[in-house]
């Protein structure tokens, strides 16, 4: 039986959410670093260059 006076740690929903957030952040970083612009450009949606040239 667990000791009621010791901290039980983070709840399961926090651990699962934490993992999901880390995975999502990694995906965003990978898309930005690893050619997300190429994917957008291939789909005819690229536009950072146009946006920056417009400034």
């Amino acid at each position: 039986m667990p000791d009621p006076h010791t901290y039980p740690g983070a709840p399961r929903w926090m651990k699962v959410s934490g993992i999901a957030v880390v995975v999502a952040l990694l995906l965003v970083v990978l898309i930005h670093v690893g050619g997300g612009h190429n994917i957008l450009a291939a789909a005819g949606l690229g536009g950072h260059a146009a946006l920056e040239s417009g400034r």
């Binding site: 901290y7 039980p8 983070a10 709840p11 926090m14 536009g47 146009a50 417009g54």
Partner: protein, 187 residues
């Protein structure tokens, strides 16, 4: 520092109005961003981006700060506290994160509005800005749905700080001060 029940209910009402209003305003912003991106009608595109800047500046930004402020008051003025329960902490972090992203993206929103007000409509540039705005508005909407859900379900789980504070209070006092009795992580 606990608020009186009447004041607490008023603060909660204001917080709910600001938070739900924020969600609705972002949904409206997203609808305009999609219209601006997909419409072939120049007038519609211009109107969409000009309206988006107004909504972002005077409704979304104002409601985001109001939601943060009323949430802080609500947590500090009630036994829930700001750092005692994970769900309160997650709500604070997500709302703060969304507000910071909004502040960063205000420049892009203003840029799209300025482009749409030009005599000649630069479709390619507007499209580039529009794609980013649709992505960020969708992300913001999804991120801010989480605090709304957390507020209703209030999932159990205390932080280490909250646990220490709770342990410092005599067990029989929890019901008196309105604190949630601790649950095991498995429940």
């Amino acid at each position: 520092m606990t608020m009186a029940p009447g004041l607490r209910k008023f603060a909660l009402t204001v917080h709910v109005i600001c938070s739900v209003g924020l969600l609705g305003a972002i949904a409206g912003f997203l609808a305009l961003a999609i219209a601006g991106l997909t419409s072939q009608n120049d007038q519609m595109v211009r109107a969409a981006y000009l309206a988006m800047e107004l909504i972002a500046r005077f409704v979304i930004l104002a409601l985001a700060f109001a939601s943060l402020l009323t949430g802080l008051i609500q947590s500090v003025g009630t036994p829930w506290g700001l750092f005692r329960h994970y769900w309160v902490l997650v709500k604070l972090l997500l709302t703060a994160f969304a507000t910071i992203v909004l502040l960063v993206k205000m420049e892009l929103i203003g840029y799209a509005a300025r482009l749409s007000a030009e005599t000649t409509l630069f479709r390619a540039d507007l499209r580039a800005a529009g794609i980013q705005l649709v992505i960020h508005a969708s992300g913001g909407l999804l991120v801010l749905l989480v605090p709304a859900i957390l507020s209703v379900y209030k999932p159990a789980g205390m932080t280490r700080y909250g646990w220490r504070k709770r342990s410092a209070i005599a067990p029989g006092l929890h019901a008196v001060v309105g604190l949630q009795a601790p649950k095991s992580p498995a429940s």
